[in-house]
């Protein structure tokens, strides 16, 4: 038996139920459209990657209860241009940033709550507004609003295929409780995330090493909708290996480890690979500016794993970790427990120690404490690793989300390969984030992209369906 919501075609069908999907659904419903959301997760694990988020980066001209000062669109633009290295659709980026101005107000209207800037706001207190309780609390508020507005949602329903006639959406093939159903609708909004949880697809860009990647967010974001759209002739943007990825604790679960698995000690450490060799300047810059490159660096090492080693002097200088470090009174003992070649690691650290130059150590900013005569150099926070106990953290690449997606315009319309927009298909969120993020990332942008394009998609779809 199909769920009753499948029987009657809705004005707007929304694939997914994360931040982008909610932004579209609520907007469309408030314009009077009938809305159905289809979500593969069950109720307990609903909310996609959006349930893991902390904050949203949006432009604003003044301080509020949630942000400590102005963050003008121009500054946002400069920041995103820098992190993407210009690898973006500049016009779309500017549009997104300008439209982001009312993101927080709109979210508050939907019952979402922000917290005042506090200690844990990671240096983003001016640019980003932090959700009280984080992404799951945000998603709970969204779901409550949906219920109040009378938006239909079917959980445990995975879209396997999108049925099209030319550039027109006709129906979605949905598997619900083992059975396949055909769900028709007048319009569709694609908001089903990227394909970061699809290791097979990641291998297309990364090769077999993708087997050893951890997925920081939802196991549901397998990219089935994206794949089906590409098969139907939708135009893609971006390349499969571009994504946001960071270095996380190698002991993290395969999926859904979320924010707590981060390892913030790298700048104070010596990082070696399995063979016991160093491979990159650990102290290049402050951690928030470097954590995103370390995922890739680790991915290039043997077995896609590395080990950050510190001594007791550095304990307490960085965010506590979800897993306790591996600990030993000797470096050889530590290497053995970590599974690193012990003689090489001992030599690497001895060489490093010999290269450490005297200086005034300062944990909070680049302090110039560096090494000489060691390859690679460590440029800041270089202190001898000589005070037991020694601690080690295994680190692996944790993928956050992928950038290869569907090309869209300012109206969130999906383009076909003939460079014409599809008739009744819009996209928002991770599935189109690659239009703006060709590479790189600035924390909190994901939420802004999802909300801005989600609302436009919802509005456009509702208007189209009701005409």
């Amino acid at each position: 038996m199909p769920p009753t919501a499948f029987l009657e075609p809705h004005d707007v069908l929304i694939l997914g139920a994360g931040n982008a999907a909610m932004s579209a659904a609520i907007t469309a419903r408030k314009m009077g459209a009938s809305v159905l959301m289809i979500e593969s997760a069950d109720k307990d694990l609903r909310g996609g990657n959006s349930r893991h988020v902390r904050n949203i980066r949006y432009s604003h001209n003044a301080a509020t209860d949630y942000v400590t000062g102005a963050y003008e669109a121009s500054e946002y633009m400069t920041d995103l241009m820098r992190v993407t290295d210009g690898n973006t659709n500049e016009e779309l980026m500017r549009f997104m940033i300008e439209a982001s101005e009312d993101c927080a107000d709109w979210m508050i209207e939907q019952g979402i709550k922000f917290q005042p800037p506090l200690s844990g706001t990671l240096g983003l207190a001016r640019t980003n507004a932090f959700f009280l309780g984080g992404g799951k609390a945000m998603m709970n508020s969204y779901f409550k609003t949906c219920e109040k507005l009378g938006i239909d949602i079917v959980f445990e329903a995975e879209v396997e295929d999108v049925e099209m006639e030319g550039s027109k959406f006709v129906a979605a093939q949905v598997r619900h409780k083992g059975e396949l159903h055909r769900v028709e609708a007048r319009t569709v909004v694609l908001a089903s995330g990227g394909f970061e949880a699809n290791i097979e697809w990641l291998k297309e860009g990364w090769g077999d090493i993708a087997e050893n990647f951890l997925v920081r967010g939802s196991p549901m974001n397998t990219g089935k909708v994206l794949r089906s759209m590409l098969n139907n002739g939708a135009k893609s943007v971006g390349v499969p290996e571009q994504c946001h990825a960071v270095a996380i604790d190698g002991r993290a679960p395969q999926f859904d480890g979320g924010i707590s698995t981060r390892v913030d000690c790298v700048i104070f450490s010596v990082v070696v690979n399995k063979n016991g060799d160093r491979f990159y300047d650990e102290g290049e810059d402050i951690w928030p500016k470097r954590y995103a490159i370390w995922g890739r660096l680790v991915a290039k090492q043997p077995d896609q794993v590395a080990y950050a080693v510190i001594d007791s002097k550095s304990m307490g200088l960085f965010m506590p970790t979800v897993y306790s470090p591996i600990q030993s009174d000797t470096l050889a003992g530590l290497a053995e427990q970590l599974g690193v070649d012990a003689p090489t690691m001992e030599k690497t650290i001895a060489d490093y120690n010999a290269g450490v130059q005297p200086g005034d150590f300062n944990a909070t900013e680049p302090d110039g404490c560096h090494t000489e005569g060691v390859e690679p150099k460590k440029s800041n926070w270089a202190r001898k690793i000589d005070t037991p106990p020694y601690y080690g953290y295994p680190v692996k690449m944790g993928i956050t989300f992928t950038y290869l997606g569907l090309e869209v315009n300012k109206r969130a319309q999906v383009f076909m390969n003939d460079d014409k927009p599809a008739q009744n298909i819009w996209a928002a969120g991770e599935i189109m984030a690659g239009n703006i993020l060709g590479q790189g990332y600035a924390g909190g942008t994901g939420m802004a992209i999802g909300n801005v394009f989600g609302r436009i998609a919802g509005e456009e779809a509702a208007r189209h369906a009701r005409n």
Partner: protein, 366 residues
């Protein structure tokens, strides 16, 4: 110190929370947590008693079951608080009263009420008890003033002593110095936070209680209860001063200070506890330690009945029911004082202790 199993679970969870910190906006627990790198037994006992059980962090938790991290802060902390209450009970032989506490409290209160009422009738005779009295000292014609004073003050003073001993044990275990308890700024701040029930606030939006909706219901009902109790207590204190200092015996005029305070307090106790009982009934059991519900329910009924019999006594004090109501009210109040150190009342002691510690930590670390 509570049981190892619960302590270990609390430590496991705090390590996860300390690496996440998304909940820092809800209450005092998470900011207190971030001051620590590791958690010992005393730390988690302190944090558990700082927790007001608003449950916001449970519904917000991306690591709540069925996630493999299985984080449930409110439930774990509630368990730990329950063990705190039991383990710091003094004298130690009464720890057992925390097993099946609801039944014990009910039994003690009923028994004492029956005994006080029975003795009143037995000693004074039906005629005296059901007489109609007016004016000064009329209560004391049924039960002499000295008897009331001794019967009520002995268990009350004993309760204060037991609270103090328990608090000092708790205070030592959480690693605080005795004099920190009297730090003027910390004490003022803690009393203010308790008076406003600030941390039943979910960052200003209310608790996620009885379910995942933000609601001020629990905070409001708790305020009626707490302030109701405190006003009743103030009424009794003023009356005692009137009696001994000014030599003015009860009953007092309807618009006298003790009667106004007592009436307001009694009304608070008629509104607050039933409110809390009602939302408790609807509450999602997941973030709670349901084993403690008996204790909570017994305490709420006790407060309600104290308010109810007190107000009834006031309203009917010039009728033939006065004697009976006086005996019953005295019996219930006696039961309340006797069970104070061995029931839910102790939460106020350790909560206030934890709030003072929190205020002190913030004050010093500035």
């Amino acid at each position: 110190m509570p049981e190892t199993e619960t302590l270990d679970e609390a430590k496991r969870i705090m390590q996860i929370c300390n690496a996440c910190r998304y909940c820092e906006g809800y209450c005092a627990v998470f900011p207190a947590m971030t001051k620590r790198l590791n958690f010992n037994d005393g730390d988690v006992t302190y944090l558990a008693n700082l927790c007001h059980g608003c449950q916001g962090c449970y519904y917000a938790c991306q690591y709540a079951p069925p996630h493999e991290f299985a984080v449930n802060v409110p439930k774990t902390f509630a368990k730990l608080r329950g063990e705190t209450y039991r383990d710091y009970a003094w004298p130690g032989i009464f720890k057992k009263l925390f097993e099946g506490n609801g039944k014990w409290v009910a039994l003690i209160v009923v028994a004492l009420t029956v005994i006080v009422t029975g003795l009143t009738y037995a000693i004074q005779g039906v005629d005296v008890v059901s007489g109609v009295y007016k004016g000064e000292g009329s209560f004391y014609k049924v039960i002499p003033h000295d008897v009331i004073v001794y019967v009520a003050s002995a268990p009350f003073l004993f309760a204060i002593l037991a609270f103090f001993v328990g608090l000092m044990k708790f205070w030592k275990d959480i690693g605080a110095k005795p004099m920190d308890l009297l730090h003027p700024r910390a004490l003022t701040k803690a009393l203010k936070d308790a008076g406003q029930m600030k941390y039943m606030g979910g960052g200003g939006h209310g608790c996620n209680y009885p379910d995942d909706n933000y609601s001020m219901g629990r905070r409001v009902a708790h305020q009626f209860t707490m302030w109701g109790f405190l006003l009743c207590f103030a009424a009794t204190s003023v009356a005692t001063v009137y009696h001994y200092v000014f030599g003015w015996p009860a009953p007092y005029d309807y618009f006298s200070v003790p009667v106004v305070l007592g009436t307001l307090g009694g009304i608070g106790l008629l509104i607050g506890p039933p409110g809390l009982l009602m939302i408790k009934k609807k509450a999602d059991p997941e973030p709670q330690d349901t084993k403690q519900h008996g204790m909570d329910i017994a305490f709420l009924w006790l407060l309600f009945l104290t308010g109810l019999t007190g107000l009834a006594l006031l309203a009917l004090r010039e009728t033939s029911l006065m004697g009976l109501l006086l005996a019953v009210h005295l019996g219930i109040v006696l039961g309340m004082f006797v069970t104070f150190p061995y029931g839910k009342m102790v939460h106020a002691v350790y909560r206030l202790g934890a709030l003072i510690r929190f205020a002190h930590e913030n004050d010093v670390k500035k």
